[in-house]
């Protein structure tokens, strides 16, 4: 029997937080690609600037951090209980 994907609280920083009007969004997914699509469904305000609605994947300016690992790989697995952050991919300043 197929189990429902784990719910993850994706924490938002910077522009994603301002667009969503929220510090975190709870979505389900077992990969970053699935989380990205779920984020777009849950928060259409992220479309275009943060998530490309045509692909459902992050635009060039953003990336995920999963348990302190930085990734722009949509196949990156997300285990139950993972810490997932959505941040700008441009570091520092």
């Amino acid at each position: 029997m197929h189990q429902a994907a784990t719910t993850v609280h994706v924490e938002l920083f910077g522009v994603p937080r301002l667009l969503a009007g929220s510090k975190a969004i709870a979505v389900a997914g077992e990969t970053l690609g699935a989380l990205s699509r779920a984020l777009l469904d849950a928060c259409p305000a992220l479309a275009e600037r943060v998530i490309d609605p045509r692909t459902g994947w992050l635009t060039e300016g953003y990336m995920f951090v999963v348990n302190d690992r930085f990734s722009r790989d949509p196949t990156f697995p997300v285990a139950p209980g993972s810490s997932v952050l959505l941040v700008s991919s441009v570091a520092g300043g």
């Binding site: 924490e11 301002l18 990336m63 570091a91």
Partner: protein, 596 residues
């Protein structure tokens, strides 16, 4: 050669003499301009072992081939001198109109030595040089000074000025222009030691470019790309966006690097500042990005609007345990008004706060001692530093000297490298950055290598070996040296598909000198070796490439042993010997031997 004037001006304030010196084409090509050119001039003009605050120490302002060409963001002036903080090379950059006006004077650089007999204003108007009395400008902020000078000389002049901190010899005084600062390494203190309150420049002669039509097309294309995702963060929220994220991953320096997380981070986060304090944003001259976000105090007091970057925000906020955004904005405004580097200011105050927390006797009345989290004491102490009053006289020396003077073990929490206070990245969890901070020629600096980018990415495995990190750190340094010498803003770096190749195409169109990406990469390596060579001449030893013990406790695996291993690997990548010295054949290979 197009794009440059091929000459610089030496002004001796001791004698009032002025002399033009040629810059041969081959020299321009090898060191590019900006920081590269100014570093070479420093090597040639600074007497070995010179006291940074002595008249003989040159204060150098240098332009680049790209300034005034329409290439976006390329309006920066390099300010280089022997640093009164580190005793090594001090290089800093400041953006905007000053750079264009300086290049219009007909010279690629100004070299200023000597000390004026009274507080002075140096005026360079095309080829004419005049030193005017400026006693009436003392005590004014850099902005007030610039306004007064431009009112007297005309608004065609652009002005670099120091504030009270520079007048009073605060070792980390900055040089300000157009609302921007050459902030780090104490150029303002050197300018003050020469009794120069301000420099006003004006001119009418930009050099030609080799391929105006091609350059115009390429510059338009780059400007369009500058509005893409590679700069979105800077345009939309500014660098203040770092704070909340850095706090979440535990790399936000807090209470003098005692922690990497700050309980009050949300109150001073970039997101909160954007929603509750932001007024507008500005761009430097010839910049299409526009990263400079301004914020307004909202505490019922006299309203103040101030430019704020992440580095000022962390240094005057979490580092001092202050979570009142209005106080942080007022502290940043004070640093601007007094003309001081906000990073070193915050870090030195944080050192004093930890002294107070640990019961160290600083030798000043209790009510002068700043305390963690006490915004009023932060503001009071910043004013005291700028005016060298009371405890401010001690703290005006920076954390290293203040700790050496105070003793009682306080050297252990003076958070500097080579005398330059650490920027807003806790290196404990960022090993490539840690290496970059330890080996940087100007001291603890995130801006001369941007090695943190490696740690904030998926480009290196977290368990990557020392050699891979060393290669990444050295490559980041060389890229930064090229950007600082072409005087392109580092915020543009993600707008290139192949930075070296595309920058070389631009360089060729500007100068007419056929140049490849590899030529520029080697130039970056050459410039970093040149800076290192200056430091070696001034007494650098391997022991100077270090980090404070506090961050080498083993958290996230960063220990003395690991840092040593990283530094060993870095020296190998650089082609240096085990002591970090540069073999003669290496200098020859880089084309440095006959330049010096």
């Amino acid at each position: 050669m197009h794009g440059v004037h091929g000459r610089y001006l030496h002004i001796d304030l001791d004698t009032g003499s002025v002399a033009e010196h040629p810059i041969p084409e081959e020299v321009s090509i090898r060191v590019i301009g900006g920081v590269g050119l100014a570093s070479l001039l420093l090597y040639r003009w600074a007497p070995p072992g010179v006291d940074p605050l002595a008249p003989e120490n040159p204060l150098i302002f240098a332009t680049s081939p790209f300034i005034g060409t329409g290439i976006t963001t390329a309006s920066k002036v390099a300010v280089v001198t022997k640093s009164p903080q580190t005793g090594m090379i001090g290089d800093s950059l400041s953006s905007s109109y000053l750079a264009i006006a300086l290049k219009r004077t007909g010279f690629d650089a100004l070299v200023i030595t000597g000390t004026a007999t009274e507080w002075s204003l140096l005026v360079v108007d095309d080829g004419r040089v005049e030193v005017r009395p400026a006693t009436d400008l003392l005590g004014r902020t850099p902005e007030e000074t610039a306004d007064a000078v431009r009112a007297a000389l005309g608004t065609g002049f652009r002005v670099a000025a120091i504030g009270e901190a520079g007048e009073n010899g605060v070792r980390y005084a900055a040089i300000s222009n157009d609302g921007r600062l050459a902030g780090r390494t104490g150029g303002g203190a050197v300018m003050g030691s020469k009794r120069l309150k301000a420099i006003a420049v004006h001119g009418s002669g930009l050099p030609t470019v080799a391929d105006p039509a091609g350059l115009a097309r390429a510059a338009r294309d780059l400007a369009a790309r500058s509005l893409g995702p590679g700069t979105a963060k800077y345009r939309e929220l500014g660098t203040a966006a770092n704070l909340a994220f850095f706090n979440r991953i535990g790399v936000l320096p807090t209470r003098n690097f005692q922690q990497g997380e700050f309980a009050g981070a949300e109150a001073i986060s970039g997101e909160t500042l954007f929603l509750e304090h932001r007024t507008d944003k500005h761009a430097c001259a010839a910049c299409t990005i526009g990263c400079e976000h301004h914020y307004r105090t909202r505490d019922g007091g006299s309203e103040r609007t101030v430019r704020l970057e992440y580095e000022s925000l962390f240094a005057l906020g979490s580092l001092c345990g202050v979570d009142d955004p209005n106080a942080v904005l007022r502290a940043a405004a004070l640093c601007d008004d007094l003309g001081m580097d906000a990073i070193t200011t915050g870090a030195t105050v944080a050192w004093a706060m930890e002294c107070a927390e640990r019961g160290v006797d600083l030798g000043y009345p209790v009510d002068e001692i700043p305390r963690f989290g006490d915004a009023d004491s932060l503001l009071r102490t910043i004013e005291a530093i700028g005016r060298r009053q009371g405890i401010g006289d001690l703290l005006a020396e920076g954390s290293r000297r203040a700790a050496e003077c105070t003793g009682q073990g306080s050297e252990a929490w003076a958070m500097h490298v080579k005398g330059l206070e650490m920027p807003g990245y806790d290196p404990r969890k960022l090993p490539t950055l840690a290496l970059g901070l330890a080996v940087a020629t100007r001291g603890a600096c995130h801006n001369r290598s941007s090695a943190y980018e490696i740690d904030f990415s998926d480009r290196l495995d977290p368990d990557a070996e020392a050699l891979a990190r060393a290669e990444a750190a050295a490559a980041a340094e060389d890229q930064a040296a090229v950007l600082d010498s072409l005087t392109i803003c580092k915020f543009l770096r993600h707008c290139f598909d192949d930075l070296y190749a595309e920058a070389a195409e631009l360089y060729t169109m500007v100068t007419g000198v056929p140049t490849t990406g590899d030529d520029l990469r080697v130039a970056g390596e050459r410039i970093n070796n040149l800076k290192k060579l200056f430091n070696i001449r001034e007494g650098w030893t391997r022991a100077d490439d270090r980090l404070p013990d506090r961050v080498l406790t083993g958290e996230a695996g960063l220990t003395h042993e690991r840092l040593t291993h990283l530094i060993d690997a870095y020296y190998r990548v650089r082609g240096w010997d085990a002591d970090g010295r540069i073999p003669e054949e290496h200098l020859t290979r880089l084309g440095l031997t006959d330049l010096l």
